[in-house]
């Protein structure tokens, strides 16, 4: 977000709405109406004086109306733009021409009541719609006592209650009497999976956020008793089941399967009544009830659709199709995020990158015609080489740090340390105004080394480095002390000790900072070709997108034809024939002048680094060498092969894909078939593979409906654990129930058994209502087998990247970098990342194509400056470093007949293995020299010795 606020090529128009959209793809004119903020962005210092003096209280929408603020305010401290604004509806000056207190007290003279609404006309080539989602109607919440009982709250309200920047500063209290509470109930599916309120779909995210909120609440108070009422637990995302199980176990959450019809009040407490799976009637009292509200279509969906000229689906979300999930119905208009359908953050971020690729495909010929490049002031080398003048900036992180650590004490302590000439604390050091403050202080005090005591350098160091660069200081002259993760988080119950540890960390960071040296920032040219590994739906989509964005692409496929798993699928979830999707993709890839297809080919070896990879690809007897700048992994996955349930022994036991294939051939497979039993989670969720395969529930229902269509009187049983027909797929689930498909839930410890007796098959399953095992005779048993990872180990070794415990490729960050690997220049999509549906694979492939095209479009890539350096005089040429380097980044060469080691800077990842093994200490790491590390250690021990 802060990044968006800093780029010269991004213009943020707040309080603005789209009014008209004329033109055609590549050349639209958008009419935008922008309301005034009444506070000048450039002058406002976000000091908050205006809020303090304003007499007009208004409800704080950011805090879900749980708090009040004043007419001039800022939504939250880290908000972008970082300036305040005035709510025109409440302001006395705007409405009655009185007051004017804020303008009189604002020392920056930023208040400007002369601002008028603006009409803008934007010349644009493409439009991306990402208006998000709407909130659940109040009438739906009222059914559960919301509004009548103060202690019935929405999940968003609860979120603000748990948040340290929220109305109660993170103390979870009953809203009725502001007292702490003991028992909380979460009700799932409020405004979702509920036809009575018009929302027949599943909102997809509520199961996850409820578990998160429950575990956060437990962190606040371990004695809380929390019950979650689910219909199905839908944590189908990658790694989500594991996270859920950890949370349930660690926090002791009670998971109850029931839908609560209503909430009542008894003696000041909230009473819930429900019936269990086993038919038992229960009731219990709670102190607070949290309604897990679903995601609605945006309130203004119809207006947006009308103006943008696009179609909506029957729930008023943007209408898209499985084979083109990011395109709205008007050419040149794309859609991402929750407006396309309810979805979580990783999916939204993936789609967001995906639409960037779509727009980039359309506009590749006019790339860089409207943008400007940032230039940094020249580095002040003289200042950097002067005696260290260290500045220490200590961050409160709201109350994230300051709630535990005594930040002011840490700041004062820092001031006593040798070399420190300036120290300061800030509420949020990462906010735009605080960054500007840091830059000003550096300049004013001629600081040449900076210590930031805040959060993790992993997420925030680049931001602070950028600040240094912007004022002509080398970005390597910064050191971070992580007093959030390592102090306030891990020692949240010991504020004194946490503060002492924070002081230790700051002292160590200061000692190290004194010895930091500037590091040279180098760039390498990027070879303008992408290598895409895998020719399935994801690989073909990625290759096409990269090629359409104007870059050469080599598409490597192991088998003798393109298509991958898509070849085995017959119908898409929205009922289209996949052969059409497949043929279209193949035709476009095949005929593309910038795509080179290599069939029966495998990547044997990859060397190099972002911008300059060289791969050896084995095709038949031949090895072809390909130079390329980036890699996209789209190697797919495979159908899990069941080891039990009589599969392979009896030909009436088949998989869902096998059923599809035989149905495609004709109705023969259904001859003499009266009963079909489908078994879910075969191989998945702890049977053989630990993960949920995400798509099997919907696939089973899709096929069940197809069977019902062919043979309406067919009896179909579906044995399941949780039906995970998330999003709009819930419609199919409901239709299946209406058409008479019988769903029986089984417990993981009592999985169904397939029994063969007298050449007949029956499926034995425990029925919870009858409390007994029942036998269902089956003419056909269809196993919903999961998705197993492909043979990823070999490729993972070649490109030196880790896999998840389940065997899929591991992305750099679940939410922020869902399609990138930790190694730069390598991107990921499709089943190689984890099980997912076709539309999700396609969106992800587009996302990977966008990310891969970024370095290709820039033409240059910056090399991380933290690399190893060999002191040639001290090197004895033993070669230990060369043999140990996992990135082939060290080579030996001869100087005056003596062997010496040298770092290949561009390949070096800065891991430090070479430096730690060098027997003569000839290798040092940029930013981590032996002297600096030793100084850090001495600084720690030194104080303790005294």
């Amino acid at each position: 977000m802060v990044e968006a606020g800093r780029s010269p090529n991004i213009e943020i128009l707040t309080s603005a709405r789209l009014e008209t959209l004329e033109g055609e793809p590549g050349r639209f004119t958008a009419g935008v109406h922008q309301e005034p903020r009444f506070i000048d962005d450039d002058k406002c210092t976000a000091c908050g004086t205006c809020t303090m003096y304003c007499p007009m209280p208004i409800v704080d929408l950011y805090n879900e109306r749980l708090n009040i603020t004043r007419a001039p305010h800022i939504d939250y401290v880290q908000a972008i733009p970082s300036s305040y604004y005035i709510d025109p509806k409440a302001c006395l000056r705007i409405n009655y021409e009185t007051c004017n207190l804020c303008a009189q007290t604002c020392t920056a003279q930023a208040i400007d009541f002369s601002q008028k609404p603006r009409k803008l006309s934007l010349d644009i080539g493409a439009v991306v719609l990402a208006p998000g989602f709407g909130r659940t109607d109040r009438s739906v919440l009222e059914k559960y006592g919301y509004g009548r009982f103060l202690d019935v709250v929405t999940s968003m309200e609860f979120e603000r209650l748990t948040c340290t920047s929220g109305p109660t500063e993170g103390h979870i209290v009953r809203l009725s009497d502001k007292k702490p509470l003991k028992k909380i109930a979460f009700l799932q599916c409020v405004g979702s999976r509920d036809e009575t309120c018009g929302n027949g779909y599943c909102s997809t995210v509520c199961c996850m956020y409820a578990i998160k909120e429950a575990s956060v609440a437990k962190e606040h108070d371990q004695d809380l008793d929390i019950a979650l009422f689910f219909m199905d637990v839908r944590t189908q995302g990658k790694g989500f089941d594991a996270a859920r199980e950890r949370a349930e176990e660690k926090c002791g959450l009670r998971v109850i399967r029931a839908r609560i019809p209503m909430v009542d009040q008894v003696d000041g407490q909230l009473a819930l009544t429900w019936t269990t799976d086993e038919g038992k009637s229960c009731s219990e009292l709670f102190d607070m009830v949290v309604l897990s509200e679903g995601l609605n279509a945006p309130k203004d969906a119809k207006t947006i659709a009308e103006i943008a000229g696009i179609e909506l689906n029957h729930y008023e979300f943007c209408k898209t199709s499985v084979d083109s999930p990011l395109a709205a119905s008007r050419d040149g208009v794309y859609v991402a995020g929750a407006f396309q359908g309810p979805k979580d953050i990783p999916e939204s971020v993936t789609q967001a990158s995906g639409v960037a690729a779509m727009a980039s495909e359309l506009l590749s010929e006019v790339r860089n015609t409207r943008t400007v490049t940032i230039s940094y002031p020249e580095e002040d080398k003289a200042l950097a080489s002067e005696e260290p003048r260290i500045g220490v900036f200590v961050c409160h992180c709201g109350s994230n740090i300051a709630g535990v650590v005594d930040v002011k004490a840490v700041r004062d302590y820092a001031g006593t340390l040798p070399g420190v000439v300036f120290c300061e604390d800030a509420l949020y050091s990462c906010s735009q105004d605080a960054l500007k403050g840091i830059a000003d202080k550096i300049k004013a005090n001629r600081l040449n080394r900076v210590v930031i005591a805040a959060c993790s350098p992993r997420t925030h160091e680049p931001l602070f480095q950028e600040t240094l660069k912007s004022i002509g200081l080398n970005p390597a002259l910064i050191e971070m002390a992580n007093i959030r993760d390592q102090c306030s988080w891990v020692h949240s119950r010991e504020p004194k000790a946490a503060t002492e540890k924070a002081k230790d960390l700051v002292r160590m960071a200061v000692a190290k900072a004194g010895l930091l040296e500037p590091l040279e920032q180098t760039t390498v040219d990027v070879f303008p070709t992408a290598l895409v590994i895998g020719g399935g739906a994801a690989g073909m989509t990625a290759a096409l997108s990269i090629a359409d964005q104007g870059f050469e692409c080599v598409l490597v496929e192991r088998s003798d034809q393109l298509g991958g798993n898509l070849r085995r699928l017959v119908w898409t979830m929205d009922g289209k024939e996949t052969s059409k999707v497949l043929d279209d993709l193949i035709k476009r890839v095949d005929g593309h002048p910038r795509v080179r297809i290599m069939l029966q080919a495998q990547v044997d070896d990859v060397s190099g680094f972002l911008g300059n990879f060289t791969s050896s690809i084995v095709q038949g007897e031949q090895a072809v060498v390909v130079d390329h700048g980036v890699i996209v992994i789209a190697t797919g996955g495979k159908e899990y092969c069941p080891k039990s349930y009589q599969y392979g022994k009896n030909n009436r036991v088949i998989t869902q894909l096998e059923l599809e294939a035989s149905l495609a051939k004709g109705k023969g497979v259904l001859k003499n078939v009266k009963n079909v039993v489908m078994i879910q989670c075969v191989g998945s969720r702890g049977e053989d593979m630990s993960h949920c395969s995400r798509l099997c529930c919907t696939q089973a229902i899709k096929n069940a409906l197809r069977l019902k269509e062919i043979k309406p009187n067919l009896r179909i049983y579906c044995l399941y654990r949780d039906m995970r027909t998330y999003g709009f797929y819930e419609d199919l689930f409901r239709e299946a129930r209406k058409k008479g498909v019988i769903f029986i839930r089984y417990k993981p410890d009592r999985r169904p058994q397939v029994i063969e007796q007298d050449r007949k098959i029956k499926v034995r399953v425990f029925d919870r209502l009858l409390k007994d095992e029942i036998d269902i005779s089956a003419c056909l048993v269809v196993l919903s087998v999961g998705i197993a990872p492909g043979d990823n180990e070999v490729l993972a070794k070649v490109i030196k990247t880790p896999l998840t415990p389940e065997g899929f490729f591991l992305e750099a960050h679940v939410k922020l970098r869902p399609v990138e690997l930790a190694s730069e220049g390598i991107y990921l999509c499709g089943l190689a990342h984890g099980p997912k549906c076709l539309d999700e694979s396609i969106a992800q492939a587009k996302a990977a194509a966008a990310k891969a095209a970024i370095p290709l479009a820039k033409g240059k890539a910056a090399v991380a400056p933290i690399v190893s350096r060999v002191d040639r005089d001290a090197c004895i040429g033993c070669g230990i470093c060369e043999s140990l380097c996992p990135f082939n980044a060290i080579r030996l060469f001869k100087v005056n007949k003596r062997r010496k080691a040298e770092t290949i800077t561009a390949s070096c990842k800065g891991c430090g293995i070479c430096a730690s093994h060098c027997p003569t200490l000839a290798i040092s790491m940029g930013g981590f020299t032996d002297e600096a590390i030793m100084a850090q250690i001495h600084a720690f021990a030194g104080e303790k010795c005294i």
Binding site: A4, S7, L122, R160, A352, A356, R367
Partner: protein, 62 residues
């Protein structure tokens, strides 16, 4: 002007400044396009900015 000869624009409008809109904006700017980010509220960030922590890693959302 005859069709097909009208020059395309190297700018894109992104409607909505939540996590999806912001991510699209950043990627488009990185890909060499000028971006107008149109947000109806007074600050960007959307609903994600209201979240304290996020599932499953419990990272801070900002």
């Amino acid at each position: 002007m005859p069709e097909g000869k009208t020059k395309k624009s190297g700018a894109v409008m992104v409607l909505g400044g939540g996590i999806a809109g912001v991510q699209t904006t950043l990627d488009l700017a990185d890909l060499g396009y000028y971006v107008y980010l149109v947000e109806k509220k007074a600050s960007i960030g959307g609903v994600m900015a209201q979240l304290d922590k996020t599932f499953p890693t419990n990272d801070c959302s900002l």
